[in-house]
Symmetry: C2
Subunit: 321 residues, 2 copies
DNA sequence: TTGTAAGCGTTATCAA
DNA sequence: TTGATAACGCTTACAA
């Protein structure tokens, strides 16, 4: 491994001069600086990250924590983060798994964006107390070192329900999500609020868990229970796709016998036929805003919580009844 | 920040004793060790990664380099890697972008898996020369510190063509991929070889670039050129989906007017109707095998290049003519 | 069994 | 303008 020591020896200067030259410090003359740089390049010198991190107490690396890598919209989300951060000289690494939770206290990364239920509120608050900067996308957490960038789930769920009602639906199933996750809880609460405003409409909740198979199961149950056309609000798109799958093996048709609206506008929703009506939001923007907030926290600038707005995407999966 | 110094002071021992205790070295007595551990926990001590990395010259972190985060099958691939590596005490981080290319020479990571055309062969060979361990999934590169785990593209493309021929197709379009990427080149070569073995069959190449829009463009061209039923081998699924999209706005039907087979069996291929025929392989296994190879390289065990095998998935997008 | 001390590769302070 | 040197937090011979 070639270190500044090697360069110093070869250039006949001290290591401090090398360090200054390498870091563009104007104290060292153009001449020596050029010579040192040339030698550094010749020797293929690359600074050792550990040594620098140890001394400078920062890595210029930020982490994003995901529960796993399977999420259907991570691509755009991460892209939004990366583009925002790289402009400011920060690198982004994607972390998932128990050991990586230590990256923050270990000072491997300078800050983190959280979209990972497996990290507890307590753990995050503890890090925040230690001075680490965090942006949470999946929970509400109040702390001076934490900023929230949350989806407007309530507006989304309300839009979805209203869309079904506008189309004349009076029997509405709601396929719920996992009990513990923020987005799921928020969406369900909004649905219940909407339900209480519409006593004339028949709302039925079916327990789901945000994965495809629970959509299939729900479809089976719905077909057994009722034969008039019904509407289903799936609290995420993946479950909606599950319903499509189940129906494709029956004579029932989406948008005719069962009307479906989802949430998230994941990529596959663009491909299914008929097109899935859903609630859309910019995943790219979510990542970008989250990153901006993190940079502000790190720069000790004031931050306010942000909200990501949502819109309805209409599709032939919901038609007039 | 709490360091071993703080613990040493509080425990009334030297820092080396603390270090030994923390690392479970049996030289230190149960008693003192227990006391030190207790204090460490009390103070919420977390070892500083930079300091340890600097000293030990390893991080127990491996990187996987991706061109971007948008790949349709990254989820399973990464999952395969993570599950394999975490068993062996390694953490995986996902890196994308210019600066992260330095993670290897900076010694931020102990090794890397490459699926990223933006890294040049020269750069990788240079790292390998410096002693860094690499596994490449997207090119052929011979070096003692590099192991290849490649898709059997040739078998896949041959299978696809044969499937079309078996179904009676005699006019076959081939929608190609970007000129520079390994998988694309390999697949096209295999197609040309198959073509030379079947002079009776009419092969036509259309230039594509692995993204959806080139499928749409190709569909337009194909419909303009020919009206008898034709077959198309799309060198990846994404372009095949593009054809579906284009046809959905016409009166032509997949599996009837245009027969399509893809490559990769990405998630959306499961959702489209009719089901897309395609070439499948285990993304999880690809990641897992790649990881195993990397661990072997790091342990200085002998490695041989590996191949990931492929199979045909039939679908109603290709029917008998 | 525990302590002393050197060293990992940088940065940065102070003196020359 | 450059050089000597301490320090960052940790590991690990070697000494006690």
């Amino acid at each position: 491994m070639v270190s500044i020591k090697d360069i110093a020896k070869k250039a006949g200067v001290s290591i401090s001069t090398v360090s200054y030259a390498l870091n563009g410090n104007p104290k060292v003359t153009q001449e020596t600086s050029a010579r040192i740089l040339a030698i550094a390049k010749e020797l293929n010198y690359i600074p050792n990250a550990a040594a620098r991190n140890l001394k400078k107490r920062e890595t210029k690396i930020l982490g994003v924590f995901l529960t796993d890598y399977s999420g259907a919209f991570y691509g755009q989300l991460l892209q939004g983060m990366r583009e925002t951060l790289s402009q400011k000289g920060y690198e982004l690494i994607v972390c998932s798994g128990k050991r990586s939770h230590l990256f923050l206290p270990e000072r491997m990364i300078d800050g983190a964006i959280i979209l990972d239920e497996t990290l507890s509120d307590e753990e995050l608050l503890q890090y925040a107390d230690l001075g680490h900067k965090l942006v949470v996308l999946d929970r509400e957490l109040d702390h001076p070192n934490i900023s929230q960038v949350l989806l407007d789930n309530k507006a989304g769920a309300t839009l979805a329900i209203n869309h079904l009602i506008d189309k004349g639906h009076r029997k509405i199933y709601v396929l719920t999500g996992p009990k513990g996750t923020y987005d799921s809880i928020q969406r369900l609460n909004a649905v219940r609020q909407a339900a209480s405003r519409h006593p004339d409409i028949d709302f039925t909740e079916i327990e789901g868990n945000f994965i495809k198979s629970s959509g299939e199961k729900a479809a089976k149950q719905i077909l057994e229970e009722s034969n008039q056309p019904v509407a289903v609000f799936c609290l995420n798109d993946e479950m909606a796709i599950g319903i499509y799958d189940y129906l494709s093996n029956t004579d029932y048709k989406v948008g005719k016998d069962i009307h479906i609206i989802g949430f998230d506008n994941i990529e596959v929703s663009n491909y299914v036929h008929p097109r899935l009506a859903t609630i859309d939001y910019s995943k790219w923007r979510w990542g970008a805003v989250g990153s901006e907030q993190l940079l502000k926290l790190i720069a000790n600038e004031p931050v306010e919580h942000e909200r990501i707005y949502v819109t309805v995407i209409e599709g032939e999966s919901v038609t007039n009844i």
